[in-house]
Symmetry: C2
Subunit: 373 residues, 2 copies
Amino acid sequence: MSTEVERAWAYLSRVAEPPCPELAALVDRVGPVAAADKVRRGDLDDDRLRQRTEARRESDCAQADLDVLARMGGRLITALDHEWPLLNFVAFGNVARPQGHSPLVLWAVGPVRLDEVAVRAAAIVGTRAATAYGEHVAADLAAGLVMRDVAVVSGGAFGIDGAAHRAALAGDGVTVAVVAGGIDLPYPAGHAGLLRRIAQDGLMLSEYPPGCRPTRSRFLTRNRLVAALSGATVVVEAGARSGAANTAGWAEALGRSVCAVPGPVTSAASVGCHRLLREGATLVSRSEEVIELVGRMGELAPVEQRPTSPLDALTDTERRVHDALPKRGARTADEVAFGAGIPAYQVLGALATLEVAGLVVHEGGRWRMSRRR
Amino acid sequence: MSTEVERAWAYLSRVAEPPCPELAALVDRVGPVAAADKVRRGDLDDDRLRQRTEARRESDCAQADLDVLARMGGRLITALDHEWPLLNFVAFGNVARPQGHSPLVLWAVGPVRLDEVAVRAAAIVGTRAATAYGEHVAADLAAGLVMRDVAVVSGGAFGIDGAAHRAALAGDGVTVAVVAGGIDLPYPAGHAGLLRRIAQDGLMLSEYPPGCRPTRSRFLTRNRLVAALSGATVVVEAGARSGAANTAGWAEALGRSVCAVPGPVTSAASVGCHRLLREGATLVSRSEEVIELVGRMGELAPVEQRPTSPLDALTDTERRVHDALPKRGARTADEVAFGAGIPAYQVLGALATLEVAGLVVHEGGRWRMSRRR
């Protein structure tokens, strides 16, 4: 990317609060350099775009922003790059979700290619006020996902997000933090170290240029990117009012799988998950069930082993004959027939089968349960 | 019911292991007295019925059985009684589930009318190896159900069943125990006292005549009655291999609602519930959600109160303007316009609205967040 083009993108990234579909349309039409020029000069036909760029068009800190990015070893990713993933925002042109638009520019730091991540990624999200249970499950899921080469996407927040990122890093896996402010402003401050490690080994992404503070509305806008980058969004814990439900809503709107982890119904931190499950989210309790949703076709979760019993294979008659023997003591075939309500000639056949299976023992004309079980 | 008819029913109840659709068909055709007579004499056209009654037809302990019932203050309930509920087994004539048949005779003890119970009842079932969490939730659900006049049906077992019965009794509600052996043989023995209280204040039911031992296959057969008597079956805790899943299967086959309570994914006692939820069961976390399924039309669970914030009602512009104010300190309208990326003239309107709402304060040409929140 030439310096001129980069500076145009950086300028465009800040001049309108993203996402700004009118700006994206202009860039589509005339390219980033001409678009930046037109915006800067206020030479715009689109009234709405003029309004949305009015407040910031005269301020150009593109070069300063790019210097910050360069110092962090980062890069811009735009729809014109090979690295741009298929985010599938197309369907959301101008409908119910006003922020439902593809990002224009992503500020990125980290060695991982975004398009490679996005083909096999799951979001693990949840409340900042996580319980020990929630953090344990988030870590467990993340560890299981990276072990099977699934990238873990989250928002870098305290609680569930942090547990998921940390476990992914600990498992030498790929993790992506999509943050709601400038990549140079680690938020929360207590996660500065974690975010630095993510930027070093995984990928830290933002739609906002350096220096932007994360705000309430930016968190919500950011959530759509977490959902869009992931084949499935897993909500591990969420209170009655949690941003994680918003991310899940995005996942659904974008046609991605929405999953939730259940918890005790007595836990306030699982209320949001249970609501999602009642609304149709897929219950997941282990990473294999997530991989089933984001993995290659046919990459199915192994069926959990159920405990089995030698009685499972019996026919209905054999089972009733077996049931008719007392726990202690022996019975004649006639007594068994009466107990089971089955004709004596059928009882003899069933007893023979049970004897071969080692379930009953024949002694002196009577049968008793085998003690070997 | 005349003594002759009662004795015929009692004889028929024991002569074939229930359910026996061939026997039911004969009774339908010739009535109980003639049917008993034909079975006793072996005068049967139906080969299968001859086989199924062969072992026990010569033994008649009907009078002794009725004496036991009388001593317990109980009664027989058959399809010819007013008290017979609509069990809706019709669809299951002779298909996949061979025990899918209406019972012929129910041995009942208790002051409650079965048909009145069955129109407004929910089954609460689960593992005998319940955790403290499971027993707590079972009791909580049962207490909530009986408070709204919903009867609690269960199987009288240790664990979840017992917790549900006990809480229903404690709430002066109606509870029904469907047992898998004779009503005179309390099982498990440790629940003799509980079952006695149920028979005294609620209803104890069995398809099996007095003296019958509960067996493995009888437990499974019994489960269909628990499901059939209830508008919804709620599985509170179930291990990987639990009879509760069998009851849930019956509920589904019978067109009843299947519900499960989630728990920690780390708990073995919730594995069966989570499997049911993945297979489409309805997640329930409070009794209101069960009442919604078994109650009158429109008897909906009150929506849970979500915590609200004064920011909820703001427009997108107002929220972005609010977000653009720092936590501490004040900003001019132009600074806010730049921060929010919104034209200055729109910012002034939004700030005025926020001021009226008490969210921001105007001081000397600048705005700051209100400290009253």
